[in-house]
Symmetry: C2
Subunit: 266 residues, 2 copies
Amino acid sequence: MNSTTTFDTPLALRHAIRERRWTGYTNHIAPHHVQGNLMIVPAAYADAFAAFCAANAQALPLLARSEPGVPFMPALGADLDLRTDVGGYMVFRDGELSSTPESITDIWRDDLVAFVLGCSFSFETLLRNHGVRLRHLDEGNVSAMYVTSLQTEACEPFKGPLVVSMRALSPADAIRATLVSSRHTMFHGAPVHIGLPQLIGIEDLSQSYGGHGLTTLREDELPVFWACGATAQLAAMHARLPFCITHYKAHMVVTDLRIEELAASA
Amino acid sequence: MNSTTTFDTPLALRHAIRERRWTGYTNHIAPHHVQGNLMIVPAAYADAFAAFCAANAQALPLLARSEPGVPFMPALGADLDLRTDVGGYMVFRDGELSSTPESITDIWRDDLVAFVLGCSFSFETLLRNHGVRLRHLDEGNVSAMYVTSLQTEACEPFKGPLVVSMRALSPADAIRATLVSSRHTMFHGAPVHIGLPQLIGIEDLSQSYGGHGLTTLREDELPVFWACGATAQLAAMHARLPFCITHYKAHMVVTDLRIEELAASA
């Protein structure tokens, strides 16, 4: 497996992930299909989490919600098993990271409800189609994330800061990306900030959330920030949920939905 | 006359300008009506200038063109006399500024063709309607203009650099203003640049074209740049036209067209 690896279908990719034949970031590997953030919470918290998503829809656009105990989402993907088809998981207990397993089959429970939320990886294809240069992709990287001083709208017990993703863009591309992304509310819509990260509580771009992603700026680039689904992770930690599971960084749920089709229908 | 002066109609304002009862900038005084840049050229150059406008429509959106020798534009305003109803004029001979009269009645000629081009003053009302704070208006000032290193598309003899107007905006307002202005191509559409003026040849914001307008930035503001109708002035100077006339800085043609109506129809 290397950077030239491709899969004929999202299903083939999910099977490769399930069988650990693909363990990398998903942003490069499925450029034409919608990807999503995963959040799995006990049923007792599911309605509150759904309300939190609705109240913060720019960060947390809901693509699908499962029935309690059902780890499948046929509307999003054929033979999609949320317990095995994501490249990595983070398990939180009482708000603390407890483990990062490769599969959650052995800890799945009948009371768990899964949510899949839109992800900015999906609009990157649309940006590129409009001529926006995404240097982090050119460099084989992912976009960096940051915790901001902006606050979400709370839906108890969910609350906490807005997390954003950052892309380093030329000024002309920043304008183009603003216009293109604004039309795609299922993928976070327009940027929430541009150019002056210290105003939203980001003091040092090199210190990204999770420690990964492209964090450098060239002299001819501006940092452009979009609301990010990782906001859900922070909210679950702030809520100190007894138990929840999310995807591991930049290893997303890859669906069968085509980006252009969802974009056109939204 | 002071900053609280208002006029019931654009016609009343034009009569006040004609009679020198109003001599100030027009950006504050007619916030609901479309304003335009004025360019008057000999008929021999009119088609070339129209082609130049069409080739550079973001800077030079054509609102109206007169017949040779006709200084009236009834489609833009009742009793609108372009020889007297603009607060100031600049007369160029062989590409050099020759005089800045208060009226051009005595130099009007039967071969002159007038063009009125969209102006960013018109979208400022729309920006404010969407909650964008325009500090230069709050401070009783106008937006500053700059000559850039970006080049227009030439239509001989017209060519030369793109001129831009700058507004100092908060990052959130810069995003909002980008989205709102992009929908109004008759008023220059989306910004052409944001944030890094040296990339478009602007080394010093304090040195604005014409020497007027708000040129300072606060720490929490970004400079946002739109294509500007003053591009026509520079092009006429570069063309070394034997004779042409434009409006004097920030003294625009005030029309009877309502901004919201033109915006909705475009």
